[in-house]
């Protein structure tokens, strides 16, 4: 059974009725890392905010269901966020310093969370905090627990945030651009840490990122998002090896180590910003294969084996 199961989720701006995210379906098994990939304006961060109950005012869940470890995330007719699922989902975000309290020493912040969320006593919480800091690769936890966030490097702060995410023992971890802004050697350390933490198979990670190389090296499954619409879903190796959706093909052709071929479509993809009022496929304006149908109606998900393609014309055969 999936740890995180999202079915046909829609997000819209309440006032205008404009759909920001359309029919997003995500399923993550225990022990697996799924990548949600998209460029700016794809709605990938809005999706993770929805799962955390942190949607900005005026944006609402207008359709669909979501469950984490068997418990519904949105309740009632208004699909309001059920705060009881908070300890089942932890977030590791792009700016680790902003996630930490700047006026409180690291140790105190961690002890606080452990005492509140796991009902630990003072001494027990302190020992557990040290243990967690060691677990995320911090060799001198005594120094780190006495430090304030501004005294630590970005990579160190991100380790602390990951330790705090682990401290609530949430089965689902959302890593929203966890290494964007970090240096490449530190990024490698953090990615390896996330991978190692997955090794016991108890958790599931949703990795939200714009970086295809990170996805290719970390994720078992990929969901490609464009303009708030899922374009293609499948096992990472298959998608990178044999992309089907025109947008996925275009995206992979733009990679620096792409070897040009006669089948490339990149030059025929026009430039245009995402139009959220579009009734049809969100990529139709740019797509070299689009027809009237594409502009008129949103594409349905065509499934075949482990892969799904949302395109009127190019379903997996």
């Amino acid at each position: 059974m999936s740890l995180l199961a999202v079915d046909d989720l829609d997000l819209r701006i309440a006032r205008s009725g404009q759909t920001l995210l359309r029919d997003v379906t995500v399923s993550i098994e225990r022990g697996s890392i799924v990548g949600l990939v998209g460029e700016s304006g794809s709605g990938k961060s809005m999706f993770s905010l929805a799962l955390m109950g942190l949607l900005p005012d005026g944006v609402e869940v207008s359709a669909g269901t979501a469950e984490v470890a068997g418990r519904p995330i949105f309740r009632g007719a208004s699909r309001s966020y059920d705060t009881a699922v908070r300890d089942r989902i932890a977030l590791v975000s792009q700016n680790p310093r902003a996630a930490l309290n700047p006026t409180m020493r690291i140790g105190k912040q961690m002890v606080r969370v452990l005492r509140q969320r796991r009902r630990m006593g003072k001494i027990q919480a302190r020992d557990e905090a040290r243990e967690l800091l060691r677990k995320v690769g911090i060799s001198d936890p005594l120094r780190v627990e006495r430090a304030y966030p501004h005294q630590l490097s970005g990579g160190m702060c991100q380790r602390v945030v990951i330790a705090m995410a682990l401290s609530v023992q949430a089965p689902v971890l959302i890593a929203d651009e966890p290494t964007t802004g970090l240096d490449v050697t530190i990024q490698a350390q953090i990615l390896l840490l996330l991978k190692e933490l997955m090794a016991d198979g108890d958790r599931a990670v949703l990795m939200v990122t714009h970086d295809l190389a990170v996805v290719s090296s970390m994720c078992d499954q990929v969901i490609i998002l464009y303009g708030g619409q899922v374009m293609e879903v499948g096992p990472t190796q298959d998608i990178f090896h044999d992309p089907v959706h025109p947008y996925t093909r275009f995206l992979l052709e733009s990679l620096e180590d792409h070897v040009p071929s006669a089948d490339d479509i990149g030059d025929r993809v026009t430039e245009s910003s995402v139009d959220f009022s579009l009734a049809g496929c969100r990529f139709a304006k740019r797509c070299p294969f689009s027809t009237d149908l594409c502009h008129r109606e949103p594409p349905l998900a065509r499934r075949s084996g482990t892969r799904t393609v949302n395109c009127h014309h190019r379903g997996v055969s």
Partner: protein, 312 residues
């Protein structure tokens, strides 16, 4: 061919209170007309300070930066010469004046440097925009109406309208989406081929560097640790830091899972650089002589320079 750009023993030191913090600790390199040299490295390596000094925006503490024999500081101050050096920044959406139209933004260097009137300038602005793939309809737009890629194209058009010989590109694609980045890099390459400009390309993104640079200089804590032709650096990195950097970079390898091999430790603070080799604390090869000897950048093969006492 004599180099267009010549950087000799550049040192830049900032004051932090009363403490001197070295950002650039003796950097030398040269670049030919039509060549792209990339300065790569992580935060604190001094690449952006070097870039600013090359563009004449920052005075060296010691050392010299010369272009075609002239000091760049003097070029930047000379109204007749300063059009020869231009710079493109990372956040073009923020570095462009939000209140101005695209036409005014792109024409400004002409007005400022050549005292050109608006009508005459327009005859240059329209083809300059066309060269970066933007039509006449963009003349009246303002930065807020532009996407990140379009804003970067406008910044490039603005930098190139004065026909510079040297362009400093400071992370020009870092804030762009993957598919947009690829097109901006292709555009920069095409313009360079047409005009034989010299690019100094600052980046932490190795994939972009591999695509656009002819030569790469790898920097660590204010020094160049390795220089060489791009293909050779990527095929056979010699400095342990270069190796660690390349191995840390995630790659798209559809047929084999990438084994993550991180380099240990973090870059020390520029105010606490160890004596001897600055990299010794993270280096897998470090030995006693690394703490004793501060390695100099010396030629080890044709066109390849290395600063490491452990070289074979």
């Amino acid at each position: 061919m004599s180099p267009l750009l010549q950087v000799d023993d550049l040192v830049i030191t900032y004051m932090n209170g009363r403490r001197r913090v070295p950002a650039v600790r003796g950097v030398s390199f040269a670049a030919e007309p039509g060549e792209t040299i990339a300065l790569v490295g992580e935060s604190g390596c001094g690449k952006s300070s070097t870039a600013r000094a090359v563009a004449g925006l920052e005075a060296p503490t010691t050392g010299r930066v010369r272009m075609a024999g002239h000091d760049v500081g003097a070029i930047a101050r000379d109204p007749k010469l300063r059009h020869l050096v231009q710079m493109v920044f990372q956040h073009s959406d923020q570095s462009l004046d939000q209140m101005w139209t695209v036409e005014r933004i792109v024409a400004e260097p002409l007005a400022r440097m050549h005292r050109m009137r608006r009508g005459a300038a327009r005859d240059r602005v329209v083809p300059a925009l066309a060269e970066v793939g933007l039509g006449d309809e963009y003349l009246t737009r303002r930065p807020r109406d532009l996407s990140g890629g379009q804003a970067q194209r406008v910044a490039i058009a603005r930098a190139l309208i004065t026909r510079p010989q040297l362009v400093v590109l400071d992370e020009p694609t870092a804030s762009l989406d993957q598919s947009v980045r690829s097109r901006v890099l292709a555009l920069l390459q095409r313009l360079q081929n047409e005009r034989k400009m010299t690019y100094v390309f600052i980046s932490h993104d190795l994939a972009s560097v591999r695509r656009i640079a002819h030569r790469v200089a790898v920097m660590y804590l204010g020094r160049i640790v390795e220089v060489g032709p791009t293909a050779e650096i990527f095929r056979n990195p010699m400095h342990p830091y270069t190796r660690g950097l390349l191995e840390s970079e995630p790659r798209v390898t559809p047929n084999e899972p990438w084994e993550i091999t991180p380099m240990r430790g973090e870059t020390p603070s520029p105010s606490a650089i160890p004596t001897g080799c600055a990299f010794q604390g993270r280096c897998p090869l470090a030995g006693p002589q690394c703490a004793a000897v501060d390695p100099r950048l010396v030629e080890v093969a044709g066109g390849r320079l290395l600063a490491c006492v452990k070289k074979d």
